[in-house]
Symmetry: C2
Subunit: 551 residues, 2 copies
């Protein structure tokens, strides 16, 4: 990330390939530092996995009525006195059975004739909106796949479309991270590299294929039985997955190529599911409010809330929706990657050894690390707790300035810092500290989130304390301490019972759209209803943001 | 084709690649014969081109109303106060203009955002059945491509969809010939080779791309302006182009995977046309009666004939349709490749030096060659003339046996033969002769065609002389001498004015479907109406076939 390394030799070129080298990958056993360097170790290279939020809590359930249904057919084989084409034979049979006829389209057509013969003319058809999307053997299971495509991670769910049961679920890192940690650097990659769109798309579709294969292994199933898929993600992930242009997403005024729901053939994305399977991509709302937020609103029932309800998806961009008086008002705030451990001196992702809870008792700093490993850094919930506690004990003032005379504040490299864990206790023998600059990152993040929230309240004409329910979704939202978030001013100070930390509600929404075709219509209605507020041109935003910088 | 050659060395491997070597290609300057060998020189290696029939005569004209229409849009660019997605902006504009809304689907979506910006938000849309299939600059020409995909050759036509005018037309060899001359050997290739379907498809789509590029160069146009395409061919060519399975076409009872009309995305076939363009594939009738025959019936107006009409497409398979009493009865007969010069001792395709006309006057054999070159072989119309003349002058009897005592019959290699051109007059210094075996090939071919015709007359319950019009289509059909065809018994002996040699009527039908969407419905109706007669199980066919073997 910084500093110079020896140029890559033949071993590295052969092992990594030109593409990975250009993306900045090096072999640790070959590259020699030519001075001080800063190295990023990608999460997939860590021996321990990052904690991924896959589960969701308290989500709305919906009636089992998937988009894909099945029909079992026993066909008469062709003969010299019955020369109908294979598709004609199939369609005639459906009509004979009193079922509506169904189209057979590419790419299913390519395998149809061989499959009919292989299954001895007794097949189970998967039919979606009048089109045959899969040909399974008799008794073959009808499966669906829901995927939440996050900038950092993927969460996948394998669902039995016949029972609605989730057969397996798993998370994995989004390998696009090799092209940049945030959406902006990935968009830049696509714009600057020939065939960047294709490379980025292939990276994610290969990951989804491998996730599907893993889930199928767990469930003793085969990916060719996956006849339907729903994928949600932010607008950039949505566009990169679908192979849509992203240049205009990276430049003001940041408009999506497409907002409406899309049915994309899995085959078109090179996904290895049933040959005719579609991927349903729910609508997005704006360049920085994606289908994942729509899915979260759907799963959390925000669209049918009877009382003022606030819903937040906290991440590098935080989407906030306020439901009030039958309105849904949404904004997106650039809260930055601080809560994912980035831009924080000792920040790290939520992996073993990350300090995730901090409590200051008297003159003692108590902390809790993931998997009780010796501390090596701080993750999002830890830094939020830390700052909240520092405010409480007076180690920093409301502007975030460290108080030199406070017992906990020390001088390191001619700068002041707050020591969370001393070198003697840590896994790497160095202090784990919080610096003024770290505190500032948290102030920027929380100010963005809170200012967005206040603008929405202003737009709806209600006061914060009228909000009866606050839904906090996403991985960081699951682990953050509500008291700390209130204390630093990120969330409004409301009775604690009004808060719900719902986990991966976007994933739950995707699953819901998989088992209920009706939910897709509801999701489309949600996206239609949402009034999007563009904060960058809102007259009150700058002032509100500055005000909310105070702790 | 026969015998052993030296194994390919490095030069050949590098020049031709593994794939071509496997397909049997060799470099003439490198491969050494290890004994007697028989070598096939592909037509594309000939320095002179084969005569290709592209033109059509006497075809029905249709109202100009193509499937693709255009709309010129001037869009307001997005801004921070107008954040609609690009597709939403496009659709809203159509509605604002009082036009029906239109879908935007893959793969057009992939380029949409960049194109709108590149054309400064002023674009010409190509719209097909409520879907945007092309985005052109303002004033961009709306083009269509019609292709007749024959087993041996392709004929392509570039059409201005705005005026209906054919801007350019050209023929080229079907490069699939490298995988076998007839459809059976190509089907065998697909069945036996991994990825054979893909290889065969790619071969033909690359040829169509190159044909399109050539036509566009002639017309000073760009293939990206081709927003619609129609392709016709026999059922095997149709399946190979579309990437459909062909195994069941090669095995009894020879059923197509699909009979109904197909709209295939050009992108799906890797064709380099407008990004959203479709290829319309008209319906086929049976495993050996394809969309090219439907197109021929359409272009020749056979479906609306008021009097008994016979229509023949003569080739390796000859399709025959009889229109009588509002019925359309069709059969396919295995007439073999003799008329294309194959299986004939001195047979050749219709290229310069081929004897194409024969007349025996007294004791002199008069002939005419293509481009007046010294004779080197005989093409289809030449051998037909030759046999007809030999019958007339008594050089062969009605069974096809050469009469040893006839002045024209000589003994060559202990077998009797009829010398068309003596060694002294030919281009290669060897006699060009007709053998007993050649005559037999012609007998088989003409017997198949005539027996099929008789079965259709029988089915319709009419006599041959009730037929008022006989339409003979295709390249060979254009050049054959009607008198000779009648004399050998291939065609019924009717007044000559009832015969029409219409040229490439299949290509004309394809063009018609390009400029008139209505014609596509008519073609589908024709295919629906046709009563297909399977000759191999027809009780009268064998006897009729044997009877028709007589000259």
């Amino acid at each position: 990330m910084e500093g110079a390394l020896s140029p890559p030799g033949q071993t590295e070129t052969e092992a990594l390939g030109e593409k990975s080298l250009r993306a900045g990958y090096r072999l640790a056993c070959q590259a020699k530092p030519m001075g001080d360097v800063k190295v990023y170790i990608p999460p997939e290279s860590l021996t321990t996995a990052q904690r991924l939020q896959v589960e969701a809590k308290e989500t709305v359930t919906s009636r089992l009525a998937p988009a894909v249904t099945l029909a079992d057919l026993h066909l008469k084989p062709p003969g010299l006195h019955d020369l109908r084409a294979d598709t004609t034979r199939l369609k005639d049979k459906l009509v004979e059975m009193g079922l509506p006829t169904a189209r057979v389209e590419f790419p299913l057509l390519a395998g149809l004739s061989d499959q009919l013969r292989q299954h001895n003319w007794a097949v189970r058809l998967a039919i979606r909106q009048g089109e045959i999307v899969g040909i399974l053997p008799q008794e073959g299971r009808l499966l669906g796949l829901a995927v939440d495509v996050g900038t950092t991670k993927l969460a996948g769910y394998l669902v039995d479309l016949d029972s609605g049961e989730t057969l397996a679920q798993a998370g994995m890192m989004n390998p696009q991270i090799a092209y940049g940690e945030d959406v902006i650097s990935r968009i830049a990659y696509v714009i600057n590299e020939d065939d960047g769109t294709r490379a980025m798309q292939q990276t994610i579709t290969e990951a989804i294929d491998s996730l599907a294969a893993q889930l199928c292994r767990e469930a003793h199933a085969d990916p060719s039985n996956i006849v339907d898929m729903v994928a949600v993600g932010n607008t950039a992930m949505h566009h990169l997955l679908a192979g849509l242009p992203v240049r205009q997403l990276g430049l003001a005024p940041y408009v999506p190529a497409v907002s409406e729901p899309l049915d994309v053939r899995a085959h078109h994305l090179d996904l290895d599911l049933a040959p005719g399977a579609y991927v349903y991509l729910p609508p997005n709302i704006a360049g920085y409010v994606g289908a994942d937020h729509v899915a979260m609103l759907l799963a959390s029932g925000v669209h049918e809330a009877g009382e003022p309800t606030l819903a937040l998806d906290i991440g590098t961009n935080t989407e906030v929706t306020l439901a009030a008086s039958s309105r849904l008002i949404t904004c997106s705030t650039a809260s930055g990657p601080a809560f994912e451990g980035a831009h924080i001196r000792d920040g790290m992702r939520a992996a073993p050894g990350a300090i995730e809870r901090v409590h200051i008792s008297g003159a003692e700093v108590q902390y809790h690390t993931i998997q009780h490993a010796p501390p090596i850094g701080i993750c999002g919930s830890g830094i939020l707790d830390g700052v909240a506690e520092m405010v409480r004990v007076g180690a920093i003032d409301r502007r975030g300035v460290l108080q030199e005379d406070h017992w906990s504040v020390v001088k390191r490299d001619s700068r002041y810092a707050f020591v969370l864990a001393p070198a003697s206790a840590t896994g790497h023998g160095r202090d784990v500290v919080v610096t003024r600059s770290d505190i500032n990152e948290i102030q920027l993040a929380k100010a963005a989130i809170r200012a967005g929230t206040e603008i929405l309240l202003e737009e709806a004409g209600i006061q914060a304390d009228e909000v009866q329910k606050v839904i906090v979704a996403g991985a960081f939202g699951t682990y953050l301490d509500i008291d700390s978030a209130i204390r630093v001013g990120m969330l409004p100070d409301l009775p604690r019972h009004r808060f719900r930390q719902v986990g991966n509600a976007a994933g739950a929404g995707a699953r819901q759209m998989l088992v209920s075709a009706e939910s897709r219509h509801i999701a489309a209605e949600i996206a239609e209803r949402v009034e999007y507020v563009e904060l960058t041109v809102h007259p009150l935003f700058s002032a509100e943001f500055l005000k909310q910088m105070y702790l």
